[in-house]
Symmetry: C2
Subunit: 249 residues, 2 copies
């Protein structure tokens, strides 16, 4: 049997408080090793951030100011949101080299004799000027100032142009904002655009609260509008219930 | 007084060994917090690496294969090592947009009506084809397969074209390889090209072994060839000696 008295308490090197046997963490060697590892990881993060700063093109604002000021920017293609009101056309100049490097779809478009290569104009349907600006900026900088609607719009665009990294970025953002109000919308979006990260997270949130979910107006609406999706939800719920039961046995 | 017997030893959660009061590291809470921090840092590193993969252009080999195969690569400028033997001219195609983004010197060259802008040819003197290939690759990928000579050549080029990130990369590589044989060469290079990281490291290695250093043939050669540099070394040595003495008082 171990008997502890106050005189046998140890002092934690990190928080400086005393602790006893029940609260034993690490020995000194392991503590020092862990501190070193943490320092190394932080240095690696600084190095990676510096590399990103080097590889990134102009920041969004700089980029657009730069182009507006008429400085030579060596762009050789423009992107246009084709459904925007014709009274308000905005062309977003870009570089073929950047577009082909970021998206296999742009690559196919610009490396073969498709209309876009010959005209130097890429028309993008079903999006606003704001979304297109944000999309182009992301291709250059790997950064976007997202809200939920922008994340959904960019997810659709990223799926269409196969920009996997942006798609994952939007999915992770939407997962971080997932709540009872946007759950069905995000689940439907994820389903429609093969967004696996968002799909798993939203489906898990639904099946964890199945009986609450089936009492919502969104559920009633979904049964009406898209019963197949409801079937998929129930299948996932069943599968989870079976797994849970199997674990208990 | 604390008395320890084997029965009062604690078990380290990390290495699973027992430890006593002298070897106390952290309490359990701090251990768990540190583990979580480490996991978070590792996740951040993964995220940053994915961002780098997205922002990077073609890898060196792909890049050159790509260009050799005659696929459209939308390049609009070539770089040439101007001193290479004329029987062996190699042009390295590149994009003005990438060069201006990576180097203020290329930017000034290509955005004003200098010869290079008009001709679309940038001649680079005093380097080999191999060094130029490595330099261009680095501007696209932020990666280089370095040996000591290549690191020195690229450091000079990075200084000339103000590619700070590459310069720091070469300096860090040379610091990691610093030894008694290459010390004077690297110190001289650092001195000549304002390479502060390499300068500090090599000067520190010299002044730590001053009496050994003054007995080497390199020292004798340096006194002959560049006595000002020797004066700088002695000044640094004196300054260190004064500081050490002040700390002791």
């Amino acid at each position: 049997m171990i008997k502890w008295t106050t005189s046998t308490m140890l002092r934690c090197l990190s928080c400086k408080e005393e602790y006893g046997s029940d609260n034993a963490g690490t020995c000194k060697d392991c503590y020092e090793e862990a501190s070193e590892t943490e320092e190394e990881l932080k240095r690696e993060i600084e190095d990676l951030k510096a590399k990103i700063a080097f590889l990134r093109f102009w920041s969004p604002l700089e980029h657009h100011n730069f182009l507006q000021l008429g400085s030579p920017s060596f762009t050789d293609v423009v992107l246009v949101a084709s459904d925007e009101h014709p009274a308000n056309p905005v062309s977003f100049p870009a570089h073929k080299a950047v577009l082909t490097c970021r998206s296999p779809v742009f690559k196919a478009m610009l490396e073969t004799d498709m209309e876009e290569r010959l005209s130097g104009i890429i028309k993008i349907s079903d999006i606003s000027n704001d979304t297109l600006r944000c999309f182009v900026d992301y291709l250059y900088t790997a950064e976007a100032c997202l809200d939920e609607q922008m994340a959904r719009d960019l997810l659709v665009l990223a799926e269409k142009y196969e920009v996997k990294y942006l798609k994952a970025h939007c999915e992770k953002f939407l997962v971080s904002k997932l709540n009872w109000d946007n759950l069905v919308t995000n689940f439907g979006l994820a389903q429609q655009h093969n967004a696996k990260i968002l799909l798993d997270a939203s489906l898990s949130m639904i099946t964890d609260n199945m009986s609450k979910f089936t009492k919502t107006p969104e559920y009633a609406h979904l049964v009406e509008k898209d019963p197949r999706l409801v079937v998929e939800i129930f299948e996932a719920y069943l599968s989870k219930a079976v797994n849970t039961a199997a674990k208990k046995d």
